[in-house]
Symmetry: none
């Protein structure tokens, strides 16, 4: 016997409720009870799916369809511009802006969460970058592949810090592409 299967609509309703509440009220006011109420769902259904509020919000906000796949523009600077756009969209969507700092803070407290985040978010982005760098090497734009961690820090870091630490509006991300491409070229020379 398998028992009653989990209802389909709940995951979606919860994700929607989380994003709405984050946008309306911020991470602090985004209560588990409020989420359940907004989604028309009992708290038990939430904790059956996610082990804590952090996991719940994380799952709602880190959308799986981000980083769909590497886009090959034929030149390193074009690829960098693409990556920057994807990174920005994944850090600046509705809800993410408000949630991310709180989420990153919760990561430190829960090793399980940290591992999941590293694997699902950082790891996938890293793989994308490695492909991009390897293509540039194959094309002859880079003499050797630079340390992917350093490249990751430069690209993700610039966008993430601009949005979440400096607190100033960020213009079009493409404007950064030439400068950051130059940095990558220096690392790969």
């Amino acid at each position: 016997m398998r028992g009653r299967p989990r209802e389909d609509g709940i995951d979606g309703a919860v994700r929607r409720a989380v994003k709405e509440l984050l946008a309306e009220a911020g991470y602090a006011k985004c209560t588990v009870d409020a989420i359940a109420g907004r989604a028309g769902v009992g708290k038990a259904a939430l904790y059956r799916r996610w082990r804590s509020k952090a996991e719940l919000v994380f799952a709602a906000v880190v959308h799986d369809d981000a980083m769909a796949g590497p886009a090959d523009t034929g030149a390193l600077q074009g690829d960098v511009a693409e990556v920057l756009a994807v990174i920005k969209s994944s850090l600046d969507g509705p809800g993410v802006r408000e949630a991310l700092p709180g989420l990153v803070a919760d990561l430190r407290a829960d090793p399980n969460l940290l591992a999941g985040f590293g694997e699902r978010f950082i790891g996938r982005e890293r793989a994308y970058l490695i492909e991009m760098l390897d293509r540039a090497v194959a094309r002859g734009e880079l003499a050797r592949r630079p340390d992917p961690v350093a490249v990751h820090a430069i690209l993700l870091g610039t966008v993430h810090t601009w949005i979440h630490l400096l607190g100033e509006p960020m213009g079009p991300v493409r404007a950064l592409a030439p400068a950051l491409t130059a940095a990558i070229r220096t690392l790969g020379s």
Copy 2:
């Protein structure tokens, strides 16, 4: 009537207690009650000195001598290396590593805190960078002064994200100086 003057040893005892608790248990377990207990101090004494837990931990963890002043090395790349070193030391000290994500999260929740932090930390660093960039323009290394916010995002972002988001050990920061200098040159050309 001036009343009893504030006791001297409290600030130091509190800073020590905060750092110990951060190292032992992380930001979440670093409770205000725990801090007061560890420091042998009443909570009122804490809130008489700092307005919130975030201010308290911030004061305990960010050393004021971090941004002592701009060091003029005579060349842009040297200045960048200096700045990176200062940034890293201010983000990677004992306690900061554990505290910073939680601190940044609290910042979002409280606009007052955000303003204070922006002024005291971001603003000072920004001023430092502007001096550095102006010197490079004067020297002829840059055709014009690039947007300081962008430069700030690149330098602070790379270090901050490497340490606090990627979760991988960061090598000597000087190795990044050439690449990030190249980025700045591109922005200022």
Copy 3:
């Protein structure tokens, strides 16, 4: 169309499970889920038979043969002793001791339940007492029939309170018969 008939063994398995859980853990820990699990039965099967946990436990714990029928001993004091014995056996069986206070509490909360209980348990006992009193009047032992509610309160109350409120072991119930018979005689004089 009649569909699949109810399985035979379920009632018995449930009663056994309820009694075991009451004895092991008391009324509070005697959860509906625990009962279902112990009896190897789904919760739906329980709620198909009884409308609430209170009904379920009540049915499991109160044996229907308790109030089999009035026993005519030929004298009021003998009848009282019989009634007391029946009352005690219905309040002191295995499981009842642990369950009754919780059951009575649930009764207060649900008027439907209260009505059902009153009819099935109190009412039947009351009818028995009325028969007994009428026989005594017919015999000439009582001048008139006293208020059956008062008699009920005296007989049931003494046993019920001794067992469930005073918390002290109760000796043979026959010892009480002369005293309580005297009380009834006073009421009926």
Copy 4:
């Protein structure tokens, strides 16, 4: 250093809130949150004073001023009438009627509570009865002192069961005094 002393008004405000809620909505709706809200008190203040909801309601409902002291009327039947009145007032006051079944149920679950109840309520009442019986023996109304537990069961049980189990309105308790006095006389002959 002793710290801030507990506020005086809280105990009283809580007791009042509990009684009001019990009278308005019954034991089930008498939530801890509702009590705290009605009393204008935080939940922490409640759990600082009582370890559970049961202890809280118990303290609010079992008033210490009940059973102020034995009243000597000069005759056993008068004393019995007095005791019955006191017992009834302690079981039928505002709030008690609704709370008692739930409270008695909770007693079974918590041995600490059971001990407290036995000592503070049953024990005090028992002592009262013993005095009453000894006076009757001294007066020559009884040949010997009957078992106080049996007397307790008869007096408390009749009233308690009438109110809380039979669910019928109880007339003036004095009407029971002659009958129950006869029972006691029989036990003490």
